[in-house]
């Protein structure tokens, strides 16, 4: 039996504790700040020095800022995609992902996954086949659905990062600071699209296959124990170019553009085609659209 004095004591301490908790949340989190121009310059120079030492090669690390008035969007035509995986390997080359394929190096990282699905079942990831390898694609009765980072407007991966190592840029690209990432992989769990990938081992990147044109927040060589993902080829699109996967697609299923430009290809697709986003019910607001052209 609890007496009156004890009851009041517990109640007061409960309220005191919860007030403290609320107070803590109200304090703005000021742990992170942006680098100033000087610090950024120093960082880029340091990274280039480190890469030169590691790979014996001149690697340029740029920090091209977002262009004013851009919000990037992507569209993929499910009627056209034939599942040839040209995009997967163009992405690997362009973005310096870890190579695999040999006994020693068997941890390849692919930012794009292409699922083979049954036309009768529709978009169904439980029945989908990621490892299809027939002589020819497309296979009768199947369609192909590539999945990569959807660059959500409301990204769950950003919300869960305990150290603030990932965020959304002004042009809508979700980026990662590979030097700040602690490898806790919360973001991989939070991402409903399986778009984030972890470097379980030291990434294997043969020096003669390195793309030396890199971006600080994009395709610069990564480290063991960090998470990485598609950035819409941040080093290309911020200069007005198309992402590598768009340029390589042999059937022209991949479309890219500025969502804020009413004359862009992406806006034409959204306004004229039947489009959908993956897992709409999660309110992640992807900027990656699937359509039927």
């Amino acid at each position: 039996m609890i007496n009156r004095r004890e009851f009041v004591k517990t109640l007061t301490s409960f309220f005191a504790l919860s007030a403290l908790g609320c107070g803590k949340l109200l304090v703005p989190r000021k742990r992170l700040r942006e680098m100033n121009r000087e610090e950024l310059k120093e960082t880029l120079a340091r990274l280039e020095r480190e890469y030169r030492k590691k790979y014996g090669k001149e690697i340029k690390v740029y920090s091209t800022p977002p262009q004013e008035g851009t919000l990037f969007g992507y569209a993929l035509d499910l009627n056209r995609c034939i599942g040839c995986r040209r995009c997967v390997y163009a992405c690997v080359r362009e973005n310096n992902q870890s190579r695999g394929g040999s006994e020693k190096h068997n941890m390849p990282v692919h930012w794009i996954k292409v699922f083979e699905m049954d036309k009768r079942k529709g978009v169904d990831f439980v029945e989908a086949n990621l490892y299809y390898n027939p002589e020819e694609v497309p296979q009768e009765g199947h369609f192909y659905m590539p999945v990569q980072c959807h660059q959500c407007e409301n990204p769950p991966c950003v919300k869960v990062c305990p150290v603030g190592a990932t965020w959304k840029e002004r042009d809508g690209i979700v980026v990662i600071d590979y030097n700040w990432c602690i490898g806790c992989r919360y973001c991989m769990v939070a991402c409903p699209y399986g778009a984030r990938h972890f470097n379980w081992t030291e990434p294997y990147l043969p020096p003669d296959e390195i793309n030396t044109n890199t971006h600080l927040l994009g395709n610069r060589p990564r480290y063991k124990g960090v998470v990485e993902k598609c950035t819409f080829c941040i080093h290309r699109v911020r200069l007005g170019r198309y992402p590598a996967c768009v340029e390589v697609c042999p059937v022209g299923a991949r479309k890219f553009g500025n969502l804020l430009d009413p004359k862009s290809e992406i806006r034409y697709i959204i306004e004229n085609k039947r489009i959908f986003v993956l897992k709409e019910e999660l309110n992640t607001l992807p900027k990656f659209f699937y359509y039927y052209g």
Binding site: C84, N106, G240, Y242, C249, F256, Y268, I269
Partner: protein, 193 residues
């Protein structure tokens, strides 16, 4: 006197109108005995829209003509044109699977000038403009292609887009996109050690 004047006016007016009417229409293409001449030869002035369309320039690479074949006139100049639909003795490498029941060579290639393609209205165009020919039947694709949505796009999303001709991806004689060998699948989790 006045009555006569009215009578004359009534008689002359309709014929005058009819003459004017004919001048606008030109030869009626549906009831003429011979197929219509190209608009230039019929003395028609191209309408405003056509001029506008001509101004739309799409930067395309040179058309994918078979090596050693073009110019077609190097052989065809000496061959008597035969408009009869038949199995060809030459060009046996061409597999024709493009609505083959209804179409054949001279629906697209001009009978007199083999170095040109012929639109349905009789206008002759070069191979580098072949998208206009394809667009006659494939309207939705043509519309999408013009805005950069149908077909492979390279270049800049902000700036000069690079286009491809329809024939760069679709063999005009057998247009279905051919299957490809897929690149290797990703590593399975159980293969990773």
């Amino acid at each position: 006197m006045l009555r006569w004047l009215f009578a004359i006016i009534f008689l002359v007016l309709p014929t005058a109108c009819e003459k004017e009417h004919r001048a606008i229409e030109g030869v009626d293409p549906f009831h003429a005995e011979n197929p219509p001449l190209p608009p230039q030869e019929r003395g028609l002035i191209p309408i405003q829209k056509e001029e506008k369309e001509k101004k739309e320039q799409f930067p395309v690479p040179p058309p994918p003509l078979s090596e050693g074949i073009y110019p077609c006139s190097s052989c065809h100049a000496e061959i008597e044109p035969n408009p009869k639909r038949r199995k060809l003795e030459f060009h046996e490498d061409i597999v024709f699977e493009h609505d083959e029941e209804h179409r054949w060579c001279l629906d697209c290639h001009d009978i007199k000038n083999r170095d040109k393609l012929r639109l349905a209205n009789g206008e002759l165009i070069g191979f580098e403009e072949s998208y206009r020919l394809c667009g006659q039947c494939h309207g939705p694709q043509y519309r999408d292609w013009k805005v950069g949505v149908h077909g492979k796009r390279t270049g800049m999303w902000k700036g000069e887009k690079e286009y491809l001709l329809c024939a760069h991806c679709h063999n005009p004689h057998s247009p279905r996109f051919k299957p490809l060998k897929p690149k290797p699948p990703p590593a399975r989790p159980e293969d990773i050690r």
